[in-house]
Amino acid sequence: MASVEPSKTASASAVLDDMALVQAARQGDMAAFEELVARHRDKIYARAYSMMRSEQDALDLSQEAWVRAWQRLDQFQGESSFATWMTRIVINVCLDALRRQQHRRAESLEELEEEAGGVERFMPVVTVNPTAGLEREELRTRIDAALAKLSWAHRTALILHSFEGMDYKQIGQAMGCSLGTVMSRLFYARRKLAALLADLKEERTES
């Protein structure tokens, strides 16, 4: 890696597109990389937070992801957008952290129940649209609250599928699990989310 000496000002970097900034950063232009960070930091932080559900973890891991991106800039060839590439990095960083956390503790019965499967076959089908009449931001908040109640494995599968647009195979590769596990986790997450949103609708109606 070239020595770290900025040669462009921040204002000059602001008018360049992402690919140009990446190319400049590859040459050691720290200001260019800083502009990339400024442009995409909210999105990367938000993805880390959605997976980790902890502000501090999201801050630490998103920064780790940026450092990793700096070290691997040569690997970005523009086959996807920089934002997509960067999002994949932070997802992998978060998955590594979640696996380390999982191995450090024995899980509760509830979490084991989620992993082994079972309750989703008992859940009654939600027939009423629980999101009707909700403002967009309110719906986002409800969904975020419901996602927080899932285990990391189910939440991650749902995030990768519904927010990152990954297919089953890609999710399995990212999470290091079989297609069967991906399908089970996704199914559980969706059914649990539907039940949680329905509960929230009932609370809202009663109040």
Binding site: L109, L112, E113, A116, G117, G118, V119, R121, G180, T181
Partner: protein
């Protein structure tokens, strides 16, 4: 006497004292009588394999008390064996599954699961009478397998 000599003497004293403290005869167990069961969990009320038996009521109850999705459990194989203090016992549970069991330190039992000739996992823990040590995992067609180890009567 130089510092090195003093240090080595201290080390020797600690080693002798440590051995005296940590090798109680009581930790050396007698022969341990165990029972291992290979169990299949499924939602089907009948097993397609006529050799499968109904799981013992006590075991079935404990498995059904867990929030697993499987409603029926079948005994694929049951083995009783004895493990002496210095021995590692190898027990074949099925064509693809075998376990090794030995008495480990501090009164614990070491259970190693071998699937298709490959080591899958090892668990080391105490196994008091009437307690169960259960290893489980997914089997094809969304069923499950369990290896249940306990002390035999």
């Amino acid at each position: 006497m130089n510092a090195r000599g003093i240090l080595l003497k201290c080390l020797a004293c600690v080693a002798v004292g440590g051995l005296a403290l940590t090798s109680p005869a009581g930790l050396r167990a007698a022969d341990l009588k165990l029972e291992a069961q290979l169990i299949w969990g499924t939602n089907e009320s009948r097993s397609p394999n006529p050799k499968h038996k109904a799981v013992q009521a006590e075991i079935a109850k404990r498995l059904k008390d867990l929030p697993f999705k499987w409603s029926h459990y079948f005994e694929v194989n049951r083995q009783r064996f004895t493990v002496s203090a210095a021995e590692t016992k190898r027990v074949q549970m099925s064509d693809e599954c075998e376990i090794t069991v030995r008495q480990a330190e501090d009164g614990q039992v070491e259970l190693v699961l071998i699937g298709k000739g490959r080591r899958v996992g090892k668990v080391v823990q105490r196994l008091p009478r009437h307690e169960l040590l259960v290893l489980g995992g997914n089997a094809p067609n969304f069923t499950a397998w369990f290896v249940v180890l306990r002390q035999a009567d």
